[in-house]
Symmetry: C2
Subunit: 391 residues, 2 copies
């Protein structure tokens, strides 16, 4: 069961945050070195045959359209193939997905995927694309907040979800973040803190929103047949999936679901030969608290409209039946677009190998699920399923 | 012999040029419809399972980081997976390469690759990245001209290449362009015209340079096993290759060769199980005339320093032994980064199927080679080899 053509043999990231003291080159180098060091049986970087890099908005930190060489040129691997992937919020996870295809195609045996984003060097308004993006069909007010807030409002109206339910997501993830040395925010907060934090865009308060963050993450992949050369505890890619939705907000068919997520999950589950009931741990896209609640439903963790019960009953707590965002999620760790998906994959990798330290969860089922959704009008999604089950 | 896991079943493009009257959405739609119509046995767009899109600098025409949905959302296919690839000048060809991996991985049977670039809506200075890119290790004067001109100077010094040799490339490609309805420039020019045209950056004159161009192109791919369902004259992807080089100009090891090209060609030849002697037609990167001459050497069409003999003897003329840039090349057709590589592949597809009309060449050997090189410090290259030989 499962695609399992590709295995993960190493991961590395850097503590995310406001890294004004690091260049994007330094962030990449550090994540890469951590990744190399993580390989069980040692690893010579010269074994890397090709690479993929995820970075969404390099033009905002002085880099423009430079392609894959921005990764390999900075880690002593200039020469090998490298493709830059950009896919909105799932930029890092889609770079990972394409790296998997490169291996599964039979062309490469060992590849690297890296992702980074420097989001604090440019004004937030530019990072969000306001000003630079003057397309007539895109209103100037179409920001991340104004795309996600109506989803919250409509979900509240249709399913009785409340601001308290959303706040519970923030409280859970902040509690998790305390244990994650890579997280930008490592303080617990209370339900009251969230409810009383300033409104950013009704019904989303400040503590319902993830921060703007700098970060980098890497992963090493090889074809499954040779995994024992590198790894003592192999983790396989059971499935990958990608899905899209309409590009402009006025075309949307629903405001209580992200169709792109439903499609990417369907593809990943199909390839893995499993369903949501087989997932033992998940790192899902929580750019806002409402996003995580909708993810529960779109990914099939519960029926439509039942996300509130999952969060109320503690099912997705670190100690619950299906731990979600044990890393602290985007809400704590931050969301450097190109790095986010790869960092989520790193977290799953650590838990599946039982090396997540203090925040290690009990893995009741052998599959971990990674998920991103975003981009203009929330129109791109990627899902990755990892497993420690070889067959 | 040959990789041949993937087949091309349709291609489509639009006449390149200064398309102020078309939006990028219209360019994509038109190229896509032409592509669909070109499939021998008819094609239902609903059969497309995934897509890849190449676009290098969408932030300069009001689009920012929106990912793959910019393609599928505009052709009635919102929902299916789509990855945006950016890799400098080889952006379109690397999108094609990644689409090939998607098929060869076994995950998808039929995929689309599209590429587009709107280069005339933004000032040329912005398109070239000046101003937006303020990285301290990149001098503000590092433009396309100032990256390629020293290559010409050094090649002249080392190998006796002259400005006349470069001008011959322009004359040849302009002559070819007359027959190409998709080309931006369709007038013959003389050696004197090139020699007397204004100096842009010594030793490159105006007519040594390709124009800034708007354009779009698409290709449909399927796994080789099912090609007969769609095609009467199959064309297979015999090999794909990608290579990089140092990211910053001060790290470069040569000024008479593009190491990224040498590496991408080596990979593509290896996968195809052939060598340069097997190529019957080529579409190579001629952003400047000197580029095409250096390509001859880097791709193995002649020994180092002998490019001048190939152009002098007419070997690469449309009627020569190895026709190069029968489409008119970037010098005539223009160079809309995301579309360029896919348009080159379209040209090879037409010739290999003997449907290139007036400009059809006699295919003496069953392999066609597509090539791009570029990006910051000329550090990215992609090579694709197509064939009509099944085995």
């Amino acid at each position: 069961m499962g695609w399992n053509k590709v295995a993960v043999i190493g991961v590395g990231m850097i503590p995310f945050g406001e890294l004004f003291d690091k260049s994007w080159e330094e962030m990449i180098e550090e994540a890469f070195l951590n990744c190399i060091k993580s390989v069980d049986k040692g690893f010579n970087p010269k074994e890397i045959q090709a690479a993929w890099v995820g970075v969404a908005r390099p033009h905002l930190h002085g880099q423009g359209a430079q392609g894959g060489v921005s990764l390999v040129g900075n880690i002593g691997l200039a020469g090998i193939p490298c493709t830059r992937v950009e896919n909105g919020c799932p930029t890092g996870s889609d770079a990972f997905r394409n790296a998997c295809f490169g291996v599964a195609s039979g062309v490469y045996d060992v590849v690297l995927v890296g992702g980074y984003e420097k989001m604090r060097d440019a004004p937030t308004s530019e990072m969000l694309g306001i000003g630079l993006e003057g397309h007539p069909l895109l209103t100037l007010s179409e920001t991340a907040m104004t795309m996600f807030a109506p989803q919250a409002t409509r979900h509240m109206f249709e399913y009785g979800t409340t601001k308290e339910h959303m706040a519970m997501v923030a409280v859970k993830n902040r509690k998790n973040g305390v244990l994650d040395p890579y997280a930008q925010f490592r303080q617990e907060i209370t339900l009251e803190d969230v409810m009383r934090s300033p409104v950013v865009c009704e019904p989303l308060n400040l503590l319902d929103c993830c921060p703007q963050t700098d970060g980098a993450a890497c992963a090493l992949l090889c074809k499954a047949e040779i995994v024992d050369k590198y790894s003592k505890k192999p983790v396989y890619v059971a499935g990958v999936g990608c899905g899209t939705d309409y590009y402009y907000a006025h075309e949307k068919t629903t405001f209580t679901s992200f169709p792109a997520t439903v499609r990417s999950a369907k593809e990943a589950y199909r390839l893995a030969g499993i369903g949501p009931q087989d997932i033992g741990i998940a790192e899902v896209h929580d750019c806002f608290t409402i996003t995580e609640l909708i993810d529960y439903e779109d990914l099939g963790f519960c029926e439509k409209g039942q996300a509130k019960e999952l969060i109320e009953k503690g099912v997705t707590e670190r100690t619950g039946r299906l731990p979600v965002n044990v890393s602290g999620g985007l809400l704590c760790k931050g969301h450097p677009l190109g790095a986010t998906g790869i960092a989520q994959i790193a977290e799953l990798y650590w838990h599946l190998r039982e090396e997540a330290g203090e925040r290690q969860v009990e893995i009741r089922k052998g599959y971990g699920l990674q998920h991103n959704v975003g981009g203009r009008s929330i129109s791109n999604s990627v899902v990755t399923i990892l497993t420690r089950n070889k067959d």
